[in-house]
Symmetry: D2
Subunit: 124 residues, 4 copies
């Protein structure tokens, strides 16, 4: 089996990752439960990059930091795609559906400029 | 400004999310530091779905659970895309580069069927 | 300033950690926000230890693994104590109060042997 | 079995939690793997409290927020104590040992006032 070349879309990326996993016979470890753990471990590596930063320092990133953060985001995305894969979830469809829900929870006229959790609006 | 219609690709999804944020004037809260926190909170909601499951229960998901997990994965992806956006990172390119690195760290002949961390191979 | 000797209680441990931080002039980085990030990074290192384990493997730990896990739990506890410190929270009192609440949310007769989230009981 | 009264120390708190779990026959769910997941879910609820805060807002907490954060810290500590319990780890001893290690990794004269990761010192 030849290593698939560069992925140019989310679907190709998912296929490339699936092949990577299959070649190593790792599907046996990839239960949704284990993959959820692996994903949050990678998300924590993103958090670790920023933990002692001031807000400003987290914005003004060197090229070196940007590359490292890109790798951590990539690892998080790899496990996100694997969970979607093994659960049979269409991630783009799920994201569209969730954004539709969020648009109702956070109507523009009430949410503008506010970081209040949406439950703060519901009694108004 | 009209709500953008359904996204069909990662690039369109990123654009739809950016518009959602801009309409609510939320860019001011979206430092990389804050977004990393928001992303791990969503990743934890994925973990919460599976925390008491046996491995088998985490595989045999009802349609209802699949929908809920899809929403949590969507929320995680939304913040992943926002971090990439505000940091100026091309997520597909970063993922390809990281998979190239992983292919070296976990060569097929050594990694096959093993869940050992890659550092276990390096002295061999 | 002499390094405080071994702590034998939670209060002594909290004092030892406070001294460690003060000697390094690290209070300036220890906002509740930053400490919450640091704590979840350490909690993720605990998760990482178990991510590919079967339930049985996570129970049958070697002495070596037990030592490593003890260090990760220690790091998590250090930041937990620091958050309590900088927020002015009495952790033992908060834990007693929370367990009192949990005892009402999960009454013995309904919760026995069930891993259902407590909201599952509330309509009954 | 009567509910144990208020705990006044870490050892008593651990005993109170163990009793709470035993009365509900929940030991069967409390593998180290599951408990690590539950702990990070609670740690994420601490993170959620602070995610959109400025550093200053995370310091100037209302009494209401302090109470809520205390509950989330308590939940995190409950699972931390349960992991230690089921793994047979003495948490106070582990914390003392880890602080001894940290004191070597971050010597006062080099670490003072710096948030650099300790690996930054090692080549000097």
């Amino acid at each position: 089996m030849t290593e698939q070349s560069r992925a140019d879309s989310l679907a190709q990326l998912r296929a490339r990752i699936n092949q990577f996993v299959a070649e190593r016979d790792w599907e046996q470890f990839h239960t949704p439960k284990n993959l959820a753990m692996a994903m949050i471990v990678e998300a924590a590596e993103v958090v670790e990059h920023f933990q002692w930063d001031t807000p400003q320092e987290s914005i003004a990133l060197s090229e070196e930091r940007k590359t490292e953060i890109g790798y951590e985001l990539a690892d998080t995305m790899v496990y996100l795609l694997r969970i979607a894969e093994v659960c049979g979830i269409d991630l783009i469809a799920a994201a569209n559906a969730k954004i539709d829900l969020n648009a109702k929870k956070y109507p523009v006229e009430k949410a503008r400029g506010s970081n209040a959790k949406y439950t703060a609006y519901q009694d108004q």
